[in-house]
Symmetry: C2
Subunit: 113 residues, 2 copies
């Protein structure tokens, strides 16, 4: 997951990912659209591929890079654990947990608050 963060923390790479959201793309096309030179694009794609954010499908002399959802799904799942920090709908859960804690303590000994 940290590797995914590192990969996406690079502006050019982030833009590549956003570009690939529209569908598979070729190295040169990526370079044209983002104003990057071909070698840099290849290097960035290599990084993205190493962390599984991208997949390659060779076709003749050119290679189509395609976005892979798995790492993004992993990030999404991780963020779910923090949802209570911003989603007020999760306040109810907080209350439930608070209630459970109180109950547990009351069981063991006494209630603190």
């Amino acid at each position: 997951m940290i590797a995914t963060f590192a990969a996406l923390s690079e502006p050019s790479r982030f833009r590549i990912v956003e570009l690939l959201r529209a569908g598979p793309c070729t190295v040169n096309v990526i370079g044209e659209r983002l104003g990057l030179q071909q070698p840099q694009v290849s290097k960035h794609l290599k990084v993205l591929k190493d962390v599984g954010l991208v997949d390659v499908e060779p076709r003749a002399t050119q290679r189509f890079y395609e976005l892979r959802g798995e790492p993004l799904r992993e990030l999404h799942a991780w963020l779910e654990d923090y949802r209570a920090l911003w989603d007020e709908r999760f306040d109810a859960i907080d209350e439930v947990l608070e209630g459970m804690k109180t109950k547990e303590k009351a069981h063991g000994r006494k209630q603190k608050k």
Copy 2:
């Protein structure tokens, strides 16, 4: 957003965030629990604060660092746009889009495939 990625791409910082999920915490306590020296903890916290991932509340001589949800919420929202990549429930949308594309092409001229 990229700044958030960069902040979270550092292992110690990532662990600090995960630790703060349990609630606000003090610099020294963070250092103890994660086996980090105080100066490094302060530095990491500064980075986290600069990107808004953390907030400080001074209390006497010590400072309680608290996790802020906003950047995480932003990440979560960004990932929603990619959900179709892994969530099969979104396949329906793909079909709709595919249909629209076909229709559009048929309108303009002819259909390629």
